[in-house]
Every structure is written in structure tokens, then in C-alpha cells.
Amino acid sequence: MPKGEIVDRVVRYVVSEIVADPGAVEVTVVEQGPSEVVAEVHTAKSDMGRVIGRRGRVARAIRVVAQAAADEEGLTAGVEFID
């Protein structure tokens, strides 16, 4: 299993559920170190606000859930939203 696969799956799933245009969602999991990954999330420009949410609430929730996914693999995970 490639490193960060669960993180990839979970982040991809959650983001796709939230956006209006799931087809435009791209998630790339980048290794940052031996036990650290970062999930880079791209969405349609018009969806960025949905993914971030009021006062960053949704983005924060996605980060927490991504870390829970990383815990399953003994990793640390960050999430970056890139537009």
C-alpha cells in the first residue's frame, strides 16, 4: 500500500462530497518525510469557499479527519488547499 493511501482516499472522498463539481477535484499526497504526508487539494475555483467554509470550519474539519486517516497508517498528515 503506498504511503498515505488512506489519507488520499478519505480527503478525496470528503472533498468530492462537499463540492458542486467533484470532477474538478484533484488530490495529490506528497511525502514530506519518513512519516509525514501532505494532501494537496485542488478544486474548481467556485468550490474553494465550500471546502474552506465559514471561518475555515470545514477546512479545519477536513484536516482533523485527514489526520485520523493518517493515524491508521502511523503517519502525520497535513492538508493544503491550493487554488
Binding site: 478525496r12 474552506i52 465559514r54 482533523v64 491508521e72
Partner: protein, 302 residues
């Protein structure tokens, strides 16, 4: 609990926090009283927070009065958005999203905000269908995690109740329930996105919420006993909205005490207060007793 009084940077934020506190999603179902409009200080120094009182609105009431208040709230929101950047600087880890979010709000067409409160009476959302949406989202989440477990959803009165069970689902609770809270937030976001409606959602994972509710209720009742005995007020430690709701419910079930919340999330906390019985001759003493009890430092909870 009759109403909550909320302080925040803006009227909009205060109302939002108050609604969350009451567990009411629908703007139409609360009455909002603006006690103080926010004022910006000079160069970010000084200034006043917005203070609003949010109260559940009994079903089916005229909209006439509310409208003007809504407009006031929106006007204040625009004013406060620019002041919001100060708040963001403090919460540095969300600074980036926060700013973007703000921009997003400014770009958002006005109608979108107005439609929500005015259409609810016409089309009642189908809670069963909404529960199904939540259930599907949670099942998909379990699958994405690769965890085995069962998802059960239902409707209790005005609340969608979702339960994730199974030994492995403990992983979705997280330290102090943080992951469960995040999933709750995401489920509500998905619900709003897919159905254009909000509803109260109670989410339990691996029995965590139920255990916590029981423990908190016992704790609250101990504090209530203490307040009834000693009088005055008791300030609790900061809690999440759902935890505060448990405390408010416990207080509401008892005679002689009331509760309200103060502070801003995530440092928002509940205050339990003894209701002093006003008798004719004891009236002046009453206010003295309240003042004494409201000292937060001497009455701080463990």
C-alpha cells in the same frame, strides 16, 4: 433555557453562535434582539463587541418584525467584516482560509442569504430523505477509511440521529471526540450542500457521545446542586457547542437555576446561575447577591 446572550465581533457571528448554542439551524426559527452593535476601535484598539440575544421562535409567527432586524444584522456584518482581519491574525493556523472565506462571502450574491430564511415555511424539508443523505455520506466515509462498522440513521422529532457502530469505529472518535466533532461538521456541510437544507444532527460514534452525555449530565447536576446551595453563579470550563447543550438541558430540567453562555468559541463556556426569588422586601438584597456571585475568578469551576 429561554434564550442565550452572545457576544462576538459582529452581529452576524454572534447570531450564528447563538443559534448553534440553541441547536437551531434555521434563521426563521429564532428571534434576534440586538443589545449592542459592534463598534470598531481606533486602529484596532478599543471598540465594542456585538451583543445579541437569541431566542427560539415559537413555530408560525409573523415575519414582519424580524425583517427589519435582519436588515440591521446584515448592515452590521459588512461593517465588521473589515474588522474581522484582526481576529484572524490571532488564529494564525486558520488565517489563510479565514481571509479567503471572508472574500468569498463578500462575493456571494446577496439573494442567497435572503432566500434561506424566507422560504422555509413554504417547503418543509423532508427529514427522512435528509437522514438518508447523512447515512450515505457516513457509509462512504467508513469505506474510505477502510473500517468495518454499521451506520444507522433515523429521525427523532426535528433531529437527524446518526449512529456509527463497530469496534473499529473508535478510530473515528479521536482524542476527546475531536474526530467525531469534525465528522459532525462535515456531515452537516454535505447535508446543506446536497439538500439545500439544514437540520439538527446528532451523531454518535462507537457510543462516545452517549457516554459523554451521561458523564456531563452527572457533572452538571453536581454543579447545579452546588449553585442551589451556595447561590450566585458558577462558570464552567470552555466546551464545544454540543457539550454546552448537554449542560443547558441538564439545567433546564432543574428548578431554581438557569444557564447561559459567554465568550467566543472555542473558549465559550456555560454559566450556571441561581434564580433568586424576588420577594417584596428582599428586592434590594437580591441584586447584591447576584453581583457577589458573578465574580468569575472566585467561582471558577475545576
Amino acid at each position: 433555557m429561554e434564550w442565550v446572550e452572545v457576544r462576538a465581533k459582529t452581529v452576524e457571528l454572534a447570531v450564528e453562535a447563538g443559534m448553534q448554542e440553541l441547536g437551531i439551524e434555521d434563521r426563521e426559527r429564532v428571534e434576534i434582539e440586538i443589545l449592542q452593535e459592534p463598534e470598531r476601535g481606533f486602529l484596532g484598539i478599543g471598540g465594542k463587541e456585538a451583543v445579541v440575544r437569541v431566542k427560539p421562535r415559537p413555530a408560525k409567527k409573523r415575519r414582519r418584525r424580524k425583517r427589519s432586524k435582519e436588515r440591521r444584522g446584515q448592515g452590521a456584518k459588512g461593517k465588521a467584516n473589515s474588522g474581522g482581519s484582526r481576529e484572524q491574525r490571532r488564529e494564525d493556523d486558520q488565517a489563510r482560509e479565514g481571509r479567503r472565506d471572508e472574500k468569498k462571502q463578500a462575493e456571494r450574491p446577496r439573494e442567497e442569504r435572503k432566500v434561506e430564511p424566507t422560504t422555509t415555511a413554504a417547503q418543509e424539508p423532508d427529514l427522512e430523505a435528509m437522514a438518508k443523505v447523512v447515512g450515505e455520506f457516513l457509509e462512504g466515509l467508513l469505506a474510505a477509511f477502510g473500517l468495518e462498522g454499521e451506520v444507522e440513521v433515523g429521525v427523532e422529532e426535528d433531529t437527524i440521529v446518526a449512529d456509527i457502530r463497530g469496534e473499529q469505529t473508535q478510530a473515528l472518535v479521536g482524542p476527546r471526540g475531536t474526530v467525531r466533532e469534525a465528522i459532525h461538521e462535515l456531515a452537516k456541510t454535505v447535508l446543506q450542500r446536497k439538500t439545500q437544507h439544514s437540520a439538527r444532527l446528532r451523531l454518535d460514534i462507537a457510543g462516545y457521545a452517549e457516554r459523554r452525555r451521561q458523564a456531563l449530565t452527572i457533572y452538571a447536576n453536581q454543579l447545579i446542586d452546588q449553585v442551589l446551595e451556595d447561590g450566585g453563579e458558577l462558570m464552567l470550563e470552555p466546551m464545544s457547542a454540543s457539550d454546552r447543550k448537554v449542560i443547558h438541558d441538564a439545567v433546564a430540567a432543574r428548578e431554581g437555576v438557569r444557564s447561559y453562555s459567554e465568550g467566543e468559541a472555542p473558549r465559550r463556556y456555560v454559566v450556571i446561575s441561581k434564580i433568586e426569588q424576588p420577594t417584596e422586601e428582599a428586592a434590594p438584597e437580591d441584586s447584591a447577591a447576584v453581583e457577589e456571585g458573578s465574580d468569575p475568578d472566585t467561582e471558577a469551576a475545576p
